[in-house]
Every structure is written in structure tokens, then in C-alpha cells.
């Protein structure tokens, strides 16, 4: 796979990759913005408005009809955290012309440009009131709906505590009060700010070369005063707290959730994070991992107990769903497995199993256009932008000593527990 990068003006770059294995083309625009408590909710609501209409197709119905006419092309706009940045991500995925009775390529890419560069604003330059109210309602309902997924809710709470005071600890949706206070003019301003100040990454993954896509985006960007645009700030990394912070919350639930948040001392780009990846997988990755084999299978304490590391943020979380009465036992069991890894108490086969599983997963990255695109987007600002295959080589080279060092660098920082209502301490 030959990737290409090309400049598209100030703080804007294009990325292209020819992917003959697929029957679709993916064109995406990522706008990197600072993740801040004050502006995040406006960007979030902006993403909802952009995904449901634009000047050319102003209603959700008109836009969907357009996508259907383009043989099920799928346009999506989201606002999500990526490290300490907020990324407004717009993309269109559509069937390659080879498989269609009529070509759609030009029109599908034009639809993406309409969505990004020409939102449905009124004469005053604000979003239309009716559109705004509809999407604001959905914004608020989405915030409320987060509580419906108890595991996700507990993980979010743990992460917020773990990264308190850092952008990554913020929620991209903001609070209900923040969503409620937004105005149509404010969200339109957020769009203008994103166009002027954001770093643009435009990517094209297509079965054939499509060089014509980039100049069109470059022309669109030239319409904005982008002198103030720049690269996003580096991600913050901080050491663990002196004493572990413990937070319990109570709710009417049948099962408790236990989330342990850790700080990882080894951070940086892919060159340094391979040992952390291997360590996290050995601790709580697949069904061969220590948490699965011991906490689940041997002690029968839970259905899931998983470790996941956040690249470049130096953060690791272990989460599990457990009986209230078994909370302390499970916490101790998890810490026991971490301690064993620090002592190097694992076999060569344990190490090899994780390396093989990671190798398999890394090699499969190229089997999806979306995953491949995401892979490069995640690493866009790193000194060396490793390919999945290069990363697989790094993983293969990780030694037992490096895994132990990664384990030693992990320090507990937060313990978050979701407990039942009736449970008395």
C-alpha cells in the first residue's frame, strides 16, 4: 500500500491511498480543533446539524433522499475526542462506479463538500431556528441517553476523574445545561471558527487514483481567511496522583461496575508504545490474558474484565461488571495480576500469545478503508507515521524486559465504582 501526503494550503493536508480490494470509495475531512470545555458543546451540536442538512439539501429528508439516489451513499458528520483535540469528522462512503448503472463519484464527493462548506444558514448567518431546535433536542437526548449504557457511563466517569483538568477528561457533548444554553448564532460561529482555525486533513481511499478530489477542497478552503489556522497542541501527559482517588456512586442497578484508572509512565509515539500495547494485551486483552484467565475463569467473578490503554495519553483503564459483594475481591484480584506482571511472572508463551494476537489485528487494519483511514489520522502529527505493518514489526520485537518496564511504569490513579442503591458500606 502506497500512501501519499500532499499540502493543501495553510494547515491543510491531503492523504490518499489506492485500495483496489474494495468496492467503495471513502472521502473524509477531519478538522482538528482544540478540545475546550466552553466550545466543545457547540461543535457537537454543529456536527448534528451538518449531518442532517446543508444549503443544497436543507432538511434531513432532502439529504437522505439524495444519499439514497446515490445508491446508498452514506454521509456522516461527528465530533469526537482524539487525544486532547476535538475532531469534527465528515465522511462519505459510496459504491464504486464499476458496480453501478450510472456513475456517482463526482456527485458523492460534491455532497461531502456541500455538507462541510455550505451549511443551511439563514440570511443573518445563523442556523435556521427550526433545524436548530430539532438538533438541540437530539443533542440533549443523547446526553441523557448515555446513562442507559451502564458500562459506558462508568468508563466515562472514570476517565473524567482520571484526566480531570485535562482536555481529554472533558465530554465532547458537554452538559445538559450547556447544550440548553446554545444559540443558532453561536453554533454558526463555531462552524466559521472551525473553517478558519481548524487543521484540515482530507483523505481519499479509493480503488483507483482520484487526484481530482484535492484541488476542489483546496479551492473551498481558499475562500476562508485561514491565516490563524495551525496544528493542534501536543497531548498532555501527567504522572499519577500521590494517593489513589476513590469515588463511589449509587444507582438502582443489578450489577456493580468497577473501573480502575491508571497512569502509564511510558508514552510517546508508536516507537515507545509497542511495549505498552503488549503489556495491556497480556494483562486484559483476549481470552488468553491474565484478567480473563484468572479473574473470570479461575475466580468466576465476572463476565468481562478488560484492560485498554489510550495511546499517547499515558492512560490505562481496567473495567469489569461484578456483584456488589465481590467488588473488593475483584479489585484485589486485578491488582494481583498487575503485580505479577511487574515481577515478570509470566511465561514466554504468554508473551508470544499477545504478540501473535496483536500482529493478526494489525495486519487486518488494511481490510477496512475506515480503519485504515483512522489509523493514519490518529498518527497524523507524529514524527514517524508508522504503517500498521511497521507497527506489527515493532510489536514483534518487544522483549520481556520491556513488558516488565511497561508494567512497572503503571501506577493506580483512580478507582471508580458504580454501586446499587440498597447496598450499605
Amino acid at each position: 500500500m502506497q500512501t501519499q501526503t500532499l499540502p493543501l494550503g495553510n494547515a491543510a493536508e491531503g492523504f490518499s491511498l489506492v485500495t483496489p480490494a474494495f468496492k467503495t470509495t471513502r472521502v473524509a475531512v477531519d478538522v482538528y480543533l482544540p478540545l475546550e470545555k466552553e466550545s466543545a458543546p457547540a461543535y457537537y451540536l454543529l456536527s448534528l446539524l451538518m449531518s442532517d442538512g446543508c444549503a443544497a439539501y436543507p432538511t434531513p429528508r432532502a439529504l437522505t433522499e439524495r444519499m439514497e439516489a446515490l445508491y446508498g451513499a452514506s454521509l456522516s458528520v461527528t465530533a469526537a475526542k482524539r487525544g486532547d483535540s476535538l475532531v469534527l469528522a465528515a465522511s462519505v462512503v459510496f459504491v464504486d462506479d464499476r458496480f453501478l448503472p450510472e456513475p456517482v463519484f463526482e456527485e458523492a464527493v460534491a455532497l461531502l463538500r456541500e455538507a462541510v462548506f455550505r451549511p443551511a444558514l439563514d440570511a443573518s448567518g445563523a442556523f435556521c431556528e427550526a433545524d436548530f431546535r430539532r438538533e438541540q433536542r437530539m443533542h440533549k437526548e443523547y446526553i441523557l441517553g448515555k446513562l442507559n449504557d451502564k458500562r459506558g457511563y462508568a468508563r466515562d466517569r472514570c476517565l473524567a476523574l482520571l484526566c480531570e483538568g485535562e482536555p481529554y477528561g472533558l465530554s465532547e457533548t458537554g452538559t445538559l445545561e450547556q447544550a440548553d444554553a446554545l444559540t443558532p448564532a453561536e453554533v454558526a460561529d463555531a462552524w466559521r471558527r472551525a473553517m478558519r482555525e481548524g487543521f484540515f486533513r482530507v483523505s481519499v481511499l479509493s480503488p483507483v487514483e482520484r487526484p481530482g478530489v484535492f484541488p476542489a477542497f483546496e479551492r473551498e478552503l481558499a475562500a476562508f481567511d485561514r491565516a490563524g489556522a495551525g496544528r493542534p497542541a501536543e497531548d498532555l501527559v501527567r504522572p499519577a496522583r500521590e494517593t489513589v482517588r476513590r469515588v463511589d456512586e449509587r444507582m438502582s442497578v443489578a450489577q456493580g461496575k468497577l473501573c480502575l484508572g491508571f497512569r502509564v509512565g511510558m508514552t510517546g509515539g508508536d516507537d515507545e508504545t509497542a511495549p505498552v500495547m503488549v503489556f495491556a494485551d497480556m494483562l486484559g486483552g483476549g481470552p488468553y490474558s491474565r484478567l480473563f484467565l484468572n479473574v473470570r475463569e479461575k475466580e468466576s467473578l465476572c463476565y468481562y474484565c478488560v484492560a485498554s490503554a489510550v495511546r499517547r495519553k499515558g492512560v490505562l483503564m481496567v473495567d469489569s461488571g461484578v456483584e456488589f459483594a465481590n467488588m473488593e475481591r475483584t479489585e484485589a484480584a486485578i491488582l494481583r495480576e498487575l503485580a505479577a506482571m511487574r515481577r515478570g511472572d509470566f511465561t514466554e508463551e504468554d508473551l508470544a500469545a499477545s504478540k501473535r494476537a496483536l500482529d493478526s489485528a494489525l495486519r487486518a487494519v488494511c481490510d477496512s478503508q475506515a480503519v485504515t483511514d483512522r489509523w493514519y489520522a490518529e498518527r497524523w502529527f507524529e514524527k514517524r507515521r508508522l504503517s500498521p505493518a511497521e507497527m506489527a514489526e515493532r510489536v514483534k520485537a518487544v522483549t520481556r524486559e520491556e513488558v516488565v518496564r511497561a508494567a512497572e511504569s503503571v501506577a493506580p490513579d483512580v478507582v471508580y465504582r458504580l454501586l446499587g442503591k440498597e447496598e450499605a458500606e
Binding site: P20, M251, A254, S300, D367
Partner: protein, 427 residues
């Protein structure tokens, strides 16, 4: 084994099918241009199969709720270590799932597909249960059940199924209850295993850069002496009507959820035909899809958000036209739906809407061939249904507006409707 080649020139794809004498069906989609292989070995045995016997057995067996799922968990174990350990040696990622009508074991790998296929075919065919290992699993599955107890989406769906079905076991939770699984023992697991994990009741689906002939040869060698078994599934006298038209539950949620369902009778039951499924799919897109009048009207009125979905939920002996979502006023959603059904029955289906629905379904079908996981899943559906993948494409192409208008007449009977809701706990 009989080998059949299906090709689609429009899609530039081929499917190799093997029909073994024992009844096992093998469906392979070679994808030399991709890296990963996804393989799925499944049996027509799910949570609804609570009463059965093998031909020749004197009595039907009634087994505890959740036993198919329990068996799925236990099958990973053998006398000398578990299947996960064997897959760990190749780097494959393995898993399994149980639904209402099937249990599937699967792996995904980036290399050594043959070795992984050997492991898959071996562990599923070699059960090993002891009272001790069965007991250990009760704790793990107990926590899986508890996890679902807190899931409002799960609660609202089973609330609906229990409101619609009086006797059919589609009304019971796939994993059973903490109490029902306490009654499971090794003997029961063996009895279920011997009945349902027989090649005549199973299917193997593979998508990836594989050599179909090698797979079929392998299966031939493994199943040399296997004979088919006839399974008799218990019949549940299910009344036409619903149990109750409305059911509600309070949970620790902030956003109320609903599931609205119509109990349907398949054309020539107990299984829904491919044609019926495809027609209903296109129809639901026109009635309640993202570009429909109904969806957009409900959106503007603040009655739904983009979590809203419409689907046709069907299997052996059950069929439900299902609408799910989040709403502060689900009754108003139901009223609007029925009003729209009435309008469509009177005015007919719009030609433009029909064309768009078909075009976008065609595009989405093409997109499926990008993913080995999705292909293997679709092949499993075909194996369950007794169809083949390109016949499904053909069925979508063959649907006419007339068919849909006919279909509309026999659906959405308000007398066979139920509404299930989950609302926030009132403090």
C-alpha cells in the same frame, strides 16, 4: 460432497457451496484481495429450542431456559485445555454467540487459516463437561445475565416479546435466568449436544483469502462416516392474539425507551420465506426509513430521535414487525405509524420512494462485500434460511411496488400490537 459454484457477474463475486451427505452445508466466499479470514461454524439451535427429541426417542425433553447459551460457553473447554488456548497459539481471535435460533462459533485471523479451521471444526465437535466445570460457569454467566438486567434496550425488547407471545419460547431471555441455569447439569448438556450438534443441523461459512477446495476436502475427510439425525422440535400452541397490549418497566435511565411490535403470521409458516423477508425489508424502509414521511414527521414533532429503527424480526415460529427507539410519547409514535399505514393503503406507494429504496438497498448490498465478517454473517443467514446469497440479491431486484402494496394489506394489525416501554424511576 456435492460442490456447486455460484457466481455473480454484476458483483464480481463467487460463492462455493458444498452439500455434504450428512446434511452439513458449507458456504465459502473466496476473497483473495483481503488479508483476514472469518469463519463461522453454526448450528440451528438457539434459546427457543427448549423442547425436542431425536427421531426414535420416546419422549420430548424439556430443558432449562438458557441451556443453548450455557452449552456455547462450555464447548470451549476440553479435557486437555480450552479452545481459546489453542487459538492463542495461532494468533486468531475466537468467539461465539447464541441467539434465538442459532449458536455460532467463529474466528478471525490474518494468517494460518487452515490451522484455525482445524481447531474450529475440532473443538465444536468434541464436547467435554464435568459437574465441576459446569458449576464454575454458573458464576460467569450469572454476571452476564446481571449485565443484561441493567440494559434498558434488552429489557424493552423482552418486555415486548413477553407481551406478544404467550407460549412460544422466543419470550424467554437467551441466557435464561440465574435460577434456570442453576438447574443445568452435564447430562442435560450432553443430551442437547447430541441432538443439535449434528452435521445435518449445522453449517460452515467462510470468507477470506482461502482455497475452497481445501476446505471442502477437509470437511469430507472429517465427516466420512457421519450420518444425519432427524430432530423433532416441540410445537408451542401459540394463540393468534397478544398477551397484553402494553407493558412498562421503570429503570435507572434518563431517556425513556420503547419497542412497538406487531405479531405477524408468516405466509406459509412456521418459517418466513425469503420473498416475504425481502418484501418486508423494502416495505419498512418506505414506511419508516430515514427518508420516509413518517420518520421525518416524527422527528419534526420531537417524538423520536435518530435511535429510531424499524426491522422484521423472525425465526422458527415467530415473526414481529418491530419499531424501536427513544421517545417521551411512544403512544403518539404508534398512532402516527398507524395513520401512515392507513394513508399508504389508500394512496399506494410512491414510485420515487420505491426506486430510491431499491437503489440504496442495492448499494448497501454491494458494500457488504468489503467485509469478510459481514459476508460470513450473511452466508450464515442463507444457511439458516436454505437460500444462497445471490438469490437474496435477486429477490431484492425482483420486488415490485405491487408486491409491497399487497404485503401492506396483511400487516400491522392493531389488534395484534403491543407496546413495551422503559421509563425513568420516579423518585
Amino acid at each position: 460432497m456435492k460442490r456447486i459454484l455460484h457466481t455473480s457477474r454484476t458483483l464480481d463475486e463467487r460463492i462455493v457451496e458444498g452439500r455434504h451427505e450428512s446434511g452439513l452445508r458449507v458456504l465459502i466466499c473466496p476473497k483473495p484481495e483481503l488479508t483476514g479470514t472469518y469463519a463461522l461454524f453454526g448450528t440451528r439451535y438457539g434459546s427457543i429450542d427448549t423442547r425436542f427429541r431425536r427421531a426414535g426417542e420416546p419422549d420430548f425433553a424439556d430443558v432449562p431456559e438458557g441451556i443453548a447459551h450455557f452449552l456455547e460457553h462450555k464447548l470451549f473447554e476440553s479435557e486437555d485445555g480450552d479452545a481459546f488456548t489453542r487459538f492463542a497459539a495461532t494468533g486468531a481471535s475466537a468467539n461465539a454467540y447464541t441467539s434465538f435460533d442459532r449458536t455460532c462459533y467463529l474466528f478471525f485471523c490474518s494468517d494460518r487459516w487452515e490451522e484455525n479451521l482445524d481447531i474450529l471444526l475440532d473443538f465444536v465437535r468434541h464436547p467435554y463437561f464435568t459437574e465441576e466445570t459446569v458449576q464454575k460457569e454458573q458464576g460467569i454467566i450469572g454476571q452476564e445475565i446481571r449485565m443484561y438486567d441493567d440494559d434498558p434496550g434488552w429489557a424493552v425488547t423482552f418486555g415486548l416479546l413477553q407481551a406478544l407471545y404467550a407460549r412460544h419460547p422466543v419470550r424467554i431471555d437467551i441466557a435464561g435466568t440465574v435460577e434456570s441455569i442453576a438447574g443445568i447439569d452435564a447430562d442435560m448438556l450432553y443430551r442437547c449436544y447430541r441432538t443439535f450438534y449434528n452435521p445435518s443441523n449445522m453449517f460452515l461459512c467462510v470468507a477470506g483469502p482461502v482455497d475452497p477446495d481445501r476446505i471442502l476436502d477437509k470437511v469430507d475427510a472429517l465427516l466420512k462416516d457421519e450420518k444425519g439425525v432427524t430432530i423433532e422440535r416441540g410445537v408451542f400452541e401459540e394463540p393468534d392474539g397478544v398477551v397484553t397490549s402494553s407493558v412498562t418497566r421503570q429503570m435507572a435511565v434518563a431517556m425513556p425507551q420503547f419497542a412497538l411490535g406487531y405479531k405477524e403470521t408468516p405466509d406459509d409458516g412456521p418459517l418466513t420465506s425469503l420473498r416475504e423477508r425481502v418484501e418486508t425489508d423494502v416495505l419498512l424502509r418506505i414506511v419508516a426509513g430515514r427518508s420516509s414521511r413518517l420518520y421525518n414527521d416524527l422527528l419534526e414533532r420531537g417524538l423520536i430521535n435518530d435511535a429510531f429503527s424499524a426491522s422484521f424480526f423472525t425465526g422458527h415460529g415467530y415473526a414481529v414487525t418491530l419499531f424501536e427507539g427513544e421517545s417521551r410519547d411512544p403512544e403518539a409514535v404508534a398512532a402516527a405509524l398507524e395513520e401512515e399505514i392507513g394513508r399508504l393503503r389508500r394512496e399506494g406507494i410512491d414510485e420515487e420512494a420505491f426506486k430510491r429504496a431499491k437503489n440504496s438497498l442495492y448499494g448497501q448490498n454491494v458494500m457488504m462485500y468489503n467485509s469478510v465478517e459481514r459476508i460470513a454473517g450473511a452466508l450464515a443467514d442463507c444457511a439458516m434460511e436454505g437460500t444462497d446469497l445471490f438469490a437474496v440479491d435477486e429477490a431484492y431486484r425482483a420486488v415490485t411496488r405491487r408486491d409491497l402494496e399487497e404485503r401492506l394489506k396483511g400487516r400491522f394489525d392493531p389488534g395484534r400490537r403491543a407496546l413495551s416501554t422503559v421509563t425513568p424511576i420516579k423518585e
